[in-house]
């Protein structure tokens, strides 16, 4: 099957117009010695066979475990209307809106999405999306390097370790100095950060809530940064933004984050959604597309891609970023999610996550030998210390039907006995209770 509608008779007519007698002749520029040495792919499958094949594959995945895994990627409720609306193929079979007259749907939706992100983060200007939270954070670093002319980056240990690994990879050939600062009692270590920042520092990377789920107010760190001409970026969990002090309120120059929690399925890692917002002064340093509201020749409201002089298709090697395709459809989902959940609903979701996580802490606290880390306040995710290897414990809990959390030893040396547990509004009191019972059974074995 190749979804081709041209018949053999039509092909002949078309070849006549081309002045050749076979399709083969259209490929005459490919020299015979460059014919494929092999093209050993299987024969095609019918739609019915294909669906059965993938149903079988899907059934091999344990997506039915009760999910307490987070680490920046959460099992949130997704209203059915999102799938229905995002399935409008006028949205999903369109390209980047280069022709604005034919793309007002996408453009207005992205403008509204940008407005959502500004409202969540308390900053002035948001772009139309980046690949994910990690690449968004590195783009923030690039912006700061360009804005300050400095090449040192200070990363708080509470920033998602996956993102810090990504930044390490990207910085490898760029003569960038990276400094990692460990957290203290789960929170950003002020003393260590203040010691590390200097007049060579371009940017400080912070996260709220951080990877351990800990809530912070980074205003003091941002102040210190600004005194030294350093930019500060906060990577945020968007659901927490319903309640927590915004990056804007804390004085941050840039906010980034992972938008997966805003109506995107987990989908084994993607596609996800990197969001970014900045202070107005940084607009021209921003990576990626941005949509502006303007007017047409008859003074009607309309939307266009704007500030394109920053972008790769115009500036080539001098562009602020190489990004071309972004995550437009994911941004559309996020906008639909925020619109459906709405102002009050969004606060409700965040409160449900927070309250249920507190309840889970309380339930788990009672288990002999298990310690809940409570020196700093947390949002919907928290760390527990086990009397055994956390990876082993989580492995045993899988057999009991739980993806119980993420063993921190994987990314933090010395934390082999620590487990990171995430709670969303989807987890019920009953499930949390069952997790506590199962955990008790495993640790008391």
């Amino acid at each position: 099957m190749s979804y081709i509608s041209t018949t053999d008779t039509q092909k002949k007519q078309m070849l006549d117009v081309c002045g050749v007698d076979s399709i083969k002749k259209l490929f005459a520029d490919i020299p015979p010695e460059l014919q494929p040495k092999s093209f050993a792919l299987p024969g095609g499958k019918s739609e019915f066979e294909l669906h059965s094949f993938f149903q079988q594959l899907a059934s091999k995945n344990y997506s039915h475990l009760v999910n307490f895994l987070g680490g920046g990627f959460y099992d949130h409720f997704i209203p059915a209307a999102i799938d229905a609306l995002v399935s409008r193929s006028e949205f999903y079979t369109a390209y980047t809106p280069y022709q604005p007259e034919l793309s007002q749907g996408t453009l207005q939706a992205i403008y509204e999405y940008q407005s959502d992100i500004c409202r969540l983060t308390g900053l002035d200007i948001a772009n139309a999306s980046l690949y994910d939270g990690g690449t968004a954070l590195f783009e923030a670093c690039q912006m700061a390097i360009s804005a300050t002319g400095r090449r040192k980056i200070v990363m708080d240990g509470g920033v998602n370790p996956i993102y810090r690994k990504m930044i390490n990879s990207y910085a490898a050939n760029l003569s960038i100095e990276l400094v990692d600062i460990s957290v203290s009692h789960g929170q950003s270590d002020r003393d260590a950060i203040f010691k590390a920042i200097d007049d060579k520092t371009a940017i400080v990377l912070l996260q709220n809530p951080n990877f351990f789920g800990v809530i912070d107010d980074h205003s003091d760190i941002v102040n210190q940064c600004h005194e030294k001409g350093i930019l500060a970026v906060q990577s945020v969990y968007p659901v927490a933004m319903a309640l927590l002090k915004t990056p804007g309120e804390q004085g941050f120059d840039i906010a980034t984050g992972e938008g997966q929690s805003l109506g995107l399925p987990l989908s084994f890692g993607g596609p996800y959604l990197g969001f970014m917002s900045v202070r107005k002064e940084l607009a021209r340093k921003m990576p990626g597309r941005v949509v502006a509201r303007t007017t047409d020749t008859q003074n009607r409201e309309g939307f266009v891609l704007s500030l394109q002089a920053r972008e790769q298709h115009i500036r080539r090697e001098k562009a602020t970023s190489n990004i071309c395709s972004n995550e437009a459809l994911c941004a559309l989902r996020a906008h639909m999610y925020l619109s459906l959940i709405g102002k009050e609903g969004f606060k409700e979701v965040a409160s449900l996550c927070y309250n249920k996580a507190n309840y889970a802490k309380e339930r788990i606290k009672g288990i002999p030998g298990v310690e809940v880390m409570e020196t700093s306040p947390t949002f919907n995710e928290f760390t527990i210390k086990l009397p055994m290897d956390a990876a082993e414990c989580a492995g045993k809990l899988i057999d009991l039907g739980f993806a119980a959390g993420f063993p921190l030893g994987r990314y933090y040396k010395g934390m082999e006995n620590y487990l990171l547990i995430a709670i969303t509004e989807k987890r019920t009191k009953f499930e949390i209770g069952r997790l506590a019972e199962a955990l008790e059974a495993v640790v008391c074995q």
């Binding site: 041209t6 949205f91 390209y95 022709q99 793309s103 996408t106 790769q312």
Partner: protein, 482 residues
Amino acid sequence: MSIIFKKSVPGRKGVQLPECDVPVLKKIDSKYLRSEDAQLCELSELDIVRHFTGLSRKNYGVDTNFYPLGSCTMKYNPKITEKIAALDGFSSLHPLLPQLRRGGSLTQGALSVIYELEQQLCEITGMDAFTTHPLAGAHGELTGMMLIAAYHKKKGNNKKVVIIPDEAHGTNPSSASIAGFEIRSVPTGENGRIDLEKLIPMIDQNTAAIMMTNPNTLGLFNPDIKKIANAAHAFDAMLYYDGANLNAILGKFRPGDADFDVIHVNLHKTFATPHGGGGPGAGPVGVKKHLEQFLPISRVAKRTDGIYALEYNYPDSIGYIAPFYGNFSVCLKAYAYILNLGAQGLIDVSENAVLNANYVFHSLKHYYEVPYPGTCMHECVFSARKQTENGVHALDIAKALIDKGMHPPTVYFPLIVKEALMVEPTETESKETLDTFIAAMIEIAHRAESEPQVFSDFPKTTPVSRLDETKAVKNMDFSYIT
């Protein structure tokens, strides 16, 4: 249509959430709280359904209209792949699950998709190993350039320069630059291919890589590619293949056979995953053996007992370039598409894509200037230079086409063609659709002579007419302020 925030009615709700079933134990300390609520809209589900359905009707997509946007491969996206990607076993799967102890056994279906897709991309492109991690085409380019940097570093090569033809996609120089390289541009010769006489002397011990696409952005295949590969390899420079134009050559030419060292593939072009109005895409990267050790981690291996496993132990790897395994559901759709079509189906894709492009080319070549003659591959490039003599520009022709119910071709790219009109019909368009397009283009060419003054008013049939981009930049209205 009014902006969504203007429609908001205080107190209205779109979703009902469950009651809180746990006791409220404590409150967040007020010093951590935001001072006022995020001003999200307050609307009912129906309000929202109407809003977005209304917006969707202001969009053109492949499903609504012919969309011959050059370099973008806007082919039909089969519906079955959407259904497959929505299967709960894939869509609800947490990416950290396989990183738990024995967790790999919980995600065998998903890991097999990644592994088997990589295998098939190897076979399709003639490369030795693939990674699905890059999240878009440009991200693939950046990954590829990082791999090349790691290769040279390992070998102790001090190479700083990447050579890129002047017709290349803008992402090429941008990606190479972000990976830390200096860019040298090489001109295109009169035959529409890279100017070999200029290129060969440019290659020296400083050359880290040459980035090319073949066929290039003029839609022309370069038969001298082996010569270029040899010249590059003589100085241990790597040859990079931008896979944006892969739709032309499935089963006809494999970059690996011509000694390309690195390639990225745009799954959202050649392998029919929808482009989503700007993304998500996916840009898997393939390499030859000598670059495999540098691929990003994790990698999926298939053990001798048939079990798929995530592997991290690659000391020379460039590390993490994405949080997980790539845009998985995009990869899943592309894998399903490849299985759906099979070997012959993929060959049919390229044959018909090339036939359709040549049919358009030969049907229009007497009406629009042809900057680089010859048999084109999957796309053809015209110039509206002749029409500009009457004051009608490529952009005007694009807008005139809109009023005829078609998405315009890519305009003003490649940059080396003045007033470029770049047409990529793709294989899935019927002869009737092409004939309608050709007739429209011919009529527009005639009208550009007889009534050139009418063009500046086009388009007239769309929800908005031409927009004031200068005002947009000046006002910087990027976010709605209530």
